[in-house]
């Protein structure tokens, strides 16, 4: 009786073990697993669902084209719950349970920072969309950024003013929050390096309404161009009130100046202003085909803030194609990616892991963004 039991249990265990390892071996043979940790629940859930749509588009195209050397990509999507602990738990689950080869990580800087140490310890190549400048400057070799970081916009503004407008006197108004102050600090620093003068710098609160005093101060300081680093409502108010004092200078705004919200508010006052944006929809062949594919698949316009997951997965898969299933070699292959044409622009990785160092300067014409120039600030 005991013998029968023993034999049964041993047989059962063997079956279990074979089942577990066998399936593991089976998947490893014909699929490559990649993890993706977007926010499916929590405060960023709306944006998370758009990221999933965007990355699924890339996944579908990759697998339809035969995957990687005959192996399909198996994308494991794990919720980061819009929180830092959630992002860490999602990463651990992806690596330890799902056994993924590489990761597409998070959009928000705070979550990337929360998971940066774990990523380094695992030694797993991770594509990220966060734009905080410092993320790729902390000696973590496994993070690869596929969006322009926050310093690129500021650098491009100054470069455009110096090289294309030939103006030399900059007036600077910015929001007093971290985003506005950080951006304005960079503009001032780069302007100094480029030999331009910031003739006056003023900050405002996000809720500021009347900019008469700030605008007159700029005018009397002799500013030729006003750079504004702030949010939608204030940008629109500034543009209107600049007209009220007779538009004595040009206007170059941060990405919020070209956003739909801001253009709807400013209306005709926004005509002719310049703004810096990550990219202009339809500016390249790759962007157009992305937009068309997105429209065909989901019957909606794409979301600018989710395109990075599409570009990111494609860059990652291209690297795996070249390097094989070895994380260190994948890392080298990503860094070796130069001049790759993505939906957001042309990617050329720096040794730090920054993939995109170009943004676009646009002019507003009849309420639409018109591309003036793609400015590449080069590797830093």
């Amino acid at each position: 009786m005991t013998n029968v039991k023993r034999i049964l249990s041993v047989t059962f265990l063997s079956v279990m073990i074979v089942a577990i390892f066998g399936s593991g071996i089976a998947t490893a043979a014909d699929e490559i697993r990649i993890g993706f940790t977007p926010p499916i629940t929590g405060v960023h859930a709306a944006g998370g669902s758009l990221q999933v749509k965007s990355i699924n588009l890339a996944l579908k195209e990759i697998n339809a084209a035969g995957g990687v050397n005959g192996k399909k990509i198996d994308l494991r999507i794990i919720d980061n719950q819009s929180t830092n602990p959630g992002a860490l738990a999602a990463l651990q689950k992806a690596v330890e349970q799902e056994k993924v080869l590489a990761m597409v990580g998070c959009l928000y800087s705070t979550q990337v920072m929360a998971t940066a140490d774990a990523t380094k310890n695992y030694g797993i190549p991770t594509i990220i969309g966060a734009t905080n400048v410092n993320i790729t400057k902390q000696g973590n070799p496994w993070l690869f950024r596929v969006r322009p970081d926050d310093s690129v916009a500021a650098g491009a503004m100054v470069k455009y003013i110096k090289e294309d407008t030939k103006l030399t006197k900059i007036g600077l108004i910015h929001d007093a929050d971290a985003f506005g102050t950080g951006g304005a600090d960079l503009v001032e620093k780069y302007a100094k390096e480029a030999g331009l003068t910031v003739v006056r710098r003023e900050k405002c609160t996000t809720a500021a309404k009347d900019f008469t005093a700030e605008l007159l101060a700029m005018k009397n300081a002799g500013a030729q161009i006003l750079v504004f680093y702030g949010h939608e409502e204030a940008t629109a108010l500034l543009q209107r009130q600049m007209r009220q004092i007779g538009s004595p200078f040009k206007f170059l705004g941060s990405p919020s100046a070209a956003s739909k919200d801001s253009l709807n508010l400013a209306k005709e006052a926004a005509e002719g202003i310049w703004a810096v944006v990550d990219f202009v929809p339809g500016q390249s062949k790759e962007n157009k085909s992305y937009a068309d594919a997105y429209k065909k698949e989901y019957n909606a316009e794409f979301d600018s803030l989710s395109v990075w997951t599409y570009d990111g997965l494609k860059i990652l898969v291209n690297a795996i194609k070249k390097a094989g299933e070895d994380r260190a070699k994948i890392r080298e292959a990503i860094l070796a990616t130069q001049g790759y044409q993505g939906a957001q622009g042309t990617f050329s990785f720096t040794p730090n892991g920054d993939g995109l160092s170009e943004v676009s300067i646009v002019q507003i014409e009849k309420g639409q963004q018109k591309l003036l120039k793609i400015v590449n600030v080069g590797s830093k």
Partner: protein
């Protein structure tokens, strides 16, 4: 500094100050009538701004028609507000009434967000968007409209309180409810009329300020706090004090932003408030009487 810059700032300051003055008047009238600060006063300017945007943008009504409907709407709104926020609590102390006005204010703000969404809306302008050029001084025509409308409203108010029976009854109620009741004045009705009038002042502020700034659920909070400061700086309870206090604050803000620091623009209103409370608690234009009754 050259005179054109200063003149330009005076105009902008007076326009902003006029809005503060209108809302501050609403504060003072209600305070005088029922001895309670109405903390939803800022929302009295936010609600009509949303109503006006809705009428103009979605029903495509003309500006004049919009003004009439908005003013009538706010009149009714004033009565409803009085019935809900004040009347049931009229025999209690002032504290429950103040809390009830705060509650209604929160309700209005979130109601506006629920109905109109969180994005700011832009109100069509009745005046040209191009600035008028007076010998090098650029002035937004809407600023001039704001200042003129405020002057006209103040003129009307003077006439109303000094020359009409209804106005005199309202003043009598404000000064001494017991005495007014003995003289046969319907005190409850007068209080309701005060709320209506105060809401209509809010309607004027909301419609005037809407076209230059954007209409958001938070616009009332900013205007309300500044108007409250204005009425204290001018001397709480004093009608000319509220008006002059509002204009004074509006101009000071712009000049402080230009000559000192634009980051602390909003702080100047409160610095002046603290100075006035320390040095002259009855307000710059106030009488030295603590309680009128």
């Amino acid at each position: 500094m050259d005179w054109s810059t200063n003149l330009q700032m005076v105009v902008a300051g007076l326009a902003m100050g006029s809005i503060y003055a209108l809302v501050a008047l609403g504060f003072v009238l209600i305070f005088n009538a029922v001895n309670v600060v109405n903390f939803a006063q800022g929302e009295f300017a936010m609600v009509p701004a949303f109503v006006a945007v809705w009428l103009m943008s979605y029903l495509n009504l003309s500006f004049a028609m919009t003004c009439v409907i908005t003013v009538v709407f706010m009149g009714i709104f004033g009565i409803v507000f009085e019935r809900i926020a004040y009347y049931p609590l009229r025999n209690r102390s002032f504290l429950p009434v103040i809390i009830s006005t705060i509650g209604v204010g929160i309700f209005l703000k979130n109601g506006a967000q629920l109905i109109f969404g969180a994005e700011p809306l832009s109100m069509p302008r009745p005046t040209s968007p191009e600035a008028l050029n007076f010998f090098g001084v650029f002035v937004d025509p809407q600023y001039i409209v704001i200042i003129l409308c405020t002057l006209a409203l103040l003129g009307f108010q003077y006439f109303f309180f000094e020359k009409t029976m209804l106005g005199k009854k309202m003043l009598a109620t404000a000064q001494d409810k017991q005495m007014a009741r003995l003289l046969g004045i319907r005190v409850a009705t007068m209080i309701a009329v005060t709320f209506v009038y105060s809401s209509i002042l809010g309607a004027a502020a909301g419609i005037l300020v809407g076209p230059i700034f954007f209409v958001t659920k938070d616009m009332g909070a900013m205007i309300g706090v500044k108007a409250f400061c204005s009425s204290i700086v001018g001397g709480f309870g004093s009608i000319p004090g509220a008006i002059l206090g509002g204009l004074f604050l509006g101009v000071i803000e712009v000049f402080a932003a230009y000559y000192v620091s634009s980051a602390y623009r909003d702080a100047f209103a409160f610095i002046i408030l603290i100075l006035v409370l320390l040095l002259r608690p009855q307000g710059i234009f106030g009488e030295k009487i603590a309680e009128k009754a």
